[in-house]
Amino acid sequence: MKAIWLVRLRDLAGRMRFWTAIVGYNPRDRSLSHGIYLIYVVIFFSLWGFAVLALLASLGAGMLTMVKGLTPTAASTMIVGAILLMYAIWQGYMSGKRSPFIFSETDAELICQTPVDRRQVALAWFLVDWIPGGLVFGGLAIVLRFAILQLAEQGGVVWAHLPGYLLAGLQVVCIILPLHLAFMATDYALGALRLRGDMDNPWLRWIPVWVGLGLIILAITSIQGFQIILWPVLFPLKAGFGEVYWLAGFSLAIILAIIGLLSLYWASPGLNLSRAAQESRFRWSAQQVSWLGDSQLRREMLTRKRLGVGHQASRIHGRAGAWALIWKDWVTTLRAMNFGTTMGWIGIFWVYLGLILAPDWGARIWAFTIWSLLVSQRCTERLRADLKVWAITRQLPFSGRETLAAQVATPVLATTLLSWLAMGIISALGFSPMIFLIVLVPTTILCITLTAAFDILRHCHSSELLAGQAAELGAGGVVLGIILGGTPMVMVSWILNQYHTIGVICSGTLLGLAFAGGITYVIWRLTASSYRNIN
């Protein structure tokens, strides 16, 4: 049994090594000075963590006051309870679909082929996986608990309140952690049930969905019934947020955690580890790539998995010449379309809506910064994808300008249309969007995209491109895009704020357009040149 825990704890230590390396701590160094340094690091990050949570609590307090008709404690209970339930239902569905136990290649060979006690394996794998999720829920609960205290005391954190805050934080964590453990253990038990023997039980995954639907129906039809059913979850949460007696809530949370662990213990003796290893091999690789910080490779792995083995040829009609680039762009974009990419485009739309409706310059600048970042990333995705197939892209009989134009045309057009749609919706709602924004938005998007493309291209090297690796978009490119794209907008906006005649509005907008066009043209030349001269 020790061997299983040894392997699992080593895995945990391996994950922790990333964080210890970041803070400069070497676990192998047994010297006194290094020990003192560790104490210093722990104290420093504890204080830092506390400060961050207290800062977030101010935002949390603002959020709680926005919930009308509920006390801050009731609102916090509702928020955490809802998130916890949604998490449990989703996790339960996924556990019923694929193995929640993730094994590496080595684990698959060393553990999964041996007659070790499956209950011990399930428990060891579950507990190590539980820690990160538990920390996230713990952090959320602490923020809301601090927010409740801030609202009650009508002030920020002061030294005199510190013991009270620490005690309150500890109280809520002691309740949320066992609650989260109870839900997660039940989900893992469901996963273990599905992995019993060689039989697949696809219906198991629908149990959490049915439970979720049942709860929604109950909440709509009878709120009292809903509260009664969820009392075992809501009561400990209320205790954690200081509404009811804490010890009673804590005891109930511990009982739920024990029930969850017992269900896992009961479900896991027949756990087929070989099946679990087969199902989790890909996820293990994706996890490793994520921990190494290689988001590019992770995205590629996920895309390949999603694309599957093959596809029938696209029916989109292509035209010869440089139009082929547009054809290829359409086919690849439609194929790569998934929930994440769609949400990315919707994000651009919403942020632009926020930019138009922003009440002051501060909010406008923030919205423009986020919007520019999203535009830079989204509109250069195709360029980066094409750079990774350098041997094909470079051999095409087109000039660098033609290739570059084809690579940015579709995303720039899509972003422009989305932005105009946002302005159309604003007009339909009775607001009047500034006319200069409608005129300037295409050049602004093009300017931001080309600046981002320029940044990517100047960091590209042929030798890396031939190995299928394109440079990432750097912070410099994003910042430059914000400055170059935003300057004409700020300039025109300032002119229009000073003078309100129709003549000034028209000439100011045209001046801004000419200025933005000039900047975009210069960036275009620079980007096309760097495309041609990739070394």
Partner: protein, 216 residues
């Protein structure tokens, strides 16, 4: 004498202090097959990448049928095809769509389906025409890379170790193909560690060592 189809003048390539390809001049004429050999790290692939326009030379000019590869890139690229030893492909395009894309890009709009089917059948890829390239084996990916080069019009064919991942049958089929191309007036430059290849193809053998080119 006929105009060389592929010509390099004063070509050299260095990576920082390291000179991968020392200054050289070369010409490859119509109907010529050049087999470039040499030890690992001799600079063969670097030379081929420079000649195909994938890696910019530190100095020197490259001409394809008289067109400067960097000044008149469109004309030069229309006449040049390169097959890397490890080809990379678009993730979201299938084998068939890759061939369609290359045909469209090189202006082959009519009859491309027949050409594509014939290329895929020749290389035993027809069964996998709807598959994404990342699901193909290494040898099959190389065959797809070769098909992409051969499906379009060209005068100069450059190949980096084209037989390295091919089975015996496909390798001999490729050899026959190269001989036919040579007889049709194409210039072919390829690298190989197989010293008998030049004789098999009836071509010349050039040797490269430490960035220096020795023309046999």
């Amino acid at each position: 004498m006929a105009q060389p189809l592929l010509e390099a003048k004063g070509l050299c390539r260095s990576f920082g202090e390291f000179q991968a390809v020392h200054t050289l001049d070369l010409q490859v004429y119509p109907g010529e097959i050049i087999v470039l050999s040499g030890p690992n790290g001799a600079g063969k692939t670097t030379l081929l990448l420079c000649l195909s326009g994938l890696l910019r030379p530190t100095r020197g000019n490259i001409f394809v049928e008289g067109f400067d590869l960097y000044q008149e890139e469109r004309d030069a690229k229309q006449r040049l095809a390169f097959v890397p030893d490890v080809p990379h492909f678009y993730q979201e395009l299938t084998t068939w769509e890759h061939l369609h894309f290359i045909c469209l890009a090189f202006g082959v709009e009519r009859g491309w389906e027949e050409r594509a089917e014939s290329k895929l059948r020749e290389f035993g890829l027809w069964e996998s025409h709807d598959m994404y390239p990342h699901n193909l084996s290494r040898g099959m990916r190389l065959k797809l890379g070769i098909s992409l080069a051969l499906i379009r019009p060209f005068q100069v064919l450059i190949m980096d170790e084209p037989t390295s991942a091919l089975d015996t049958e496909s390798a001999s089929m490729l050899m026959e193909k190269l001989i036919t191309l040579r007889d049709n007036g194409c210039a072919i430059l390829l690298t190989s560690h197989d010293l008998s290849l030049a004789e098999t193809l009836g071509g010349k053998r050039w040797r490269m060592d430490r960035g220096q080119l020795e023309m046999g």
